[in-house]
């Protein structure tokens, strides 16, 4: 095998080239704006090349990477979200001219490279390397909190230790699976001759636990709110969206190839119910908006897992729609938070500081309400359609318990999402002080685009979703 016929999906190549270019630029002269522009262009080029590849497509069981409808769809989501996150961080970075923080776009691009490698992987090796690239670059990104440096460092430390622990569990599981199957290709381990029968079970459980840790499913969720609160807002969005999509895409690829052992079904049931109820219950009493978004993202992973556990003709479409709805709505909430929080005193972290936003910045408040309604699953947004689809798959497979959890969780979700809208509608106690807020064209454009996707996707879902449907 020579280098020129090595199979490699083009986005990985483009992202690597962008990273090298950025490094070369840093060596010459440091400038944040150039770093951000290179990052944005790289991501857009990679977005346009998700279905391209170099080299010959490997036959059968040899290749490390794979490319099909599912990878194209998830890679597009990852690259699109990453570009949005780059735009969200633009103003924060260019403001601080004294200390050019060019590492930020570089680490963001590296994290995207890791997530893309995970999406395209068909074997344990690129999956694990991609996972570690995301984890290590996120550690640096989380510590980028300029205003509260110590808090950012604390969050980074928590993330590093817990992510290291979960990687160790995952790696152990992969080792056991390799001992059983003798292959590094993705395939749930099956009991083999001459090996203890429990080994396949242990391997599967360890791989599941490792992935659940990264997805922050309930027994392993404690790190998510703390880390997201300590991180800068765009990085919190990166944790909630990009890294979760990448893991979920591998999760589907890995466990979608064969049927799960029956003993695991019960465990998955319990985990899903715990995740939905736990995430929503935790979100009920949160006073910080970032922590609330973290808890709601835990609950949304639970809903996604219901769709994963109900195979059928509806399933691929439902998972696709749900991922789009979750990504766009979460990104929209974070974009509005990035736009508004500097002008809210003191920093817009607590929900009560958002009072009266409908009077001071009506456009942002309307967009935020639309995003929250979409997350809650109420008609004008695409989220309604997504949740409807999840319920439909559950009904088709008679998952009564899970549907009960879905309904209970959605009702709790309504309370805390609508509570934010209520706070924003409250008339300000003091006559509106004219706070000096600046034009932020990139954030406004971003919010408009995301709102359009949410609304048009909610009104005409078929037209938007159809091209993305996996074959």
């Amino acid at each position: 095998m020579t280098l020129h016929d090595t199979f490699l999906p083009s986005p990985l190549l483009v992202l690597s080239a962008g990273i090298m270019l950025m490094l070369a630029g840093m060596a010459w002269r440091r400038s944040v704006v150039r770093g951000l522009s290179i990052g944005l262009v790289t991501e857009l080029v990679a977005l346009g090349m998700v279905t391209h590849h170099t080299g010959t497509v490997p036959d059968g069981s040899m290749g490390l990477f794979i490319q099909d409808h599912w990878t194209a769809f998830t890679a597009m989501l990852v690259l699109f979200s990453s570009a949005c996150i780059l735009l969200m961080s633009w103003r924060d970075l260019t403001d601080d001219g004294a200390r050019p923080a060019e590492e930020y776009p570089l680490l963001l691009l590296l994290g995207t490279l890791g997530a893309t490698a995970m999406v395209f992987s068909a074997s344990y090796v690129p999956f694990f390397l991609g996972l570690e690239i995301v984890g290590i670059s996120l550690m640096g990104l989380v510590a980028f909190n300029h205003r509260h440096f110590m808090r950012g460092c604390e969050a980074a430390m928590k993330y590093l230790i817990l992510s290291g622990l979960s990687s160790a569990v995952l790696l152990f599981g992969m080792g056991l699976a390799y001992a059983l199957t003798g292959s590094l290709r993705f395939a749930p381990p099956i009991p083999a001759d001459g090996m203890p029968p429990a080994m396949a079970m242990v391997a599967t459980v360890m791989i599941l636990v490792g992935m659940f840790f990264k997805l922050s499913v309930v027994p392993f969720h404690m790190w998510l709110p703390d880390v997201m609160e300590g991180a800068p807002l765009p990085v919190a969005a990166f944790i909630a969206v990009v890294s979760k999509i990448a893991i979920f895409s591998t999760f589907v690829r890995y466990f979608g190839t064969g049927s799960l052992p029956p003993a695991l079904n019960g465990m998955l049931y319990a985990v899903i119910i715990l995740t939905i109820l736990g995430g929503n219950l935790l979100a009920l009493r949160q006073s910080s908006l970032t922590r609330l978004m973290a808890c709601s993202s835990i609950a949304h992973v639970g809903y996604l897992l219901i769709a994963f556990l109900s195979p059928g003709p509806l399933q691929p479409g439902v998972i696709t729609v749900y991922l789009v709805a979750y990504t766009v709505s979460t990104l929209g909430v974070f974009a509005v938070m990035c736009a508004c929080s500097p002008s809210l005193s003191p920093n817009g972290a607590a929900i009560t500081q958002w009072g009266g936003l409908f009077f001071t910045r009506p456009f942002m408040a309307t967009a935020m309400s639309l995003m929250l309604l979409s997350l809650a699953g109420i008609p004008p947004g695409i989220g309604f359609f997504a949740k409807f689809g999840v319920a439909a798959t559950g009904v088709a497979r008679q998952r009564d318990l899970l549907l009960g959890a879905l309904v209970t969780g959605s009702i709790m979700g309504l309370y805390y999402y609508l509570n934010i809208i209520r706070v924003m509608m409250k008339a300000p106690a003091t006559p509106a002080t004219k706070t000096a807020w600046r034009m932020e064209p990139e954030l406004t454009t971003l919010v408009i685009v995301l709102t359009m996707i949410v609304v048009i996707g909610g009104l005409f879902p078929a037209r938007i979703i159809h091209p993305f449907l996996p074959g």
Binding site: L3, L64, L107, P126
Partner: protein, 166 residues
Amino acid sequence: MHALALLSAGIAFVGAIMVITRRVAVHAVLYLVVTLLAVAMVLALLGAAFAAMLEIIIYAGAIMVLFVFVVMMLNSGQPDAAREGEWLRPRAWAGPGVLAGLLCGELLYAATPFSGHAWPLAPLTARDVGLGLFGHYVLMVELASFLLLAGLISALHIGRNRVEDR
């Protein structure tokens, strides 16, 4: 074969526990070296002699030297002689010494023909590893280099801000 591998694994386990329970960094380093040697021994028993050599040269050798160097630099300017005397009393090195002696005895025993240890017929050589790394897995080597780059930049960023905030 199982008994020998389990003995090495047990030594690695004991050593790892001692590493995280020591109060003095240098004592922990002594146990860490023994742990790495024990892991190398397991690898050698499995037939991966080349990986065992790398484990010893890179981890037990180079990285430990780096570690000791950093400990020395951090403690500069203090009365060193007394401190080092305290570090290297027999109580400190007896434990790692015993474990390392056990490992050495095990290696010698496994190498003798009457131990009954079935060495693999075709052990993995440097050539096999190189062919794998620069043939089928060449893209993974590149990906690993990006992983190291991410680690380097993260560490640089966190470390630099610490210094500035002081």
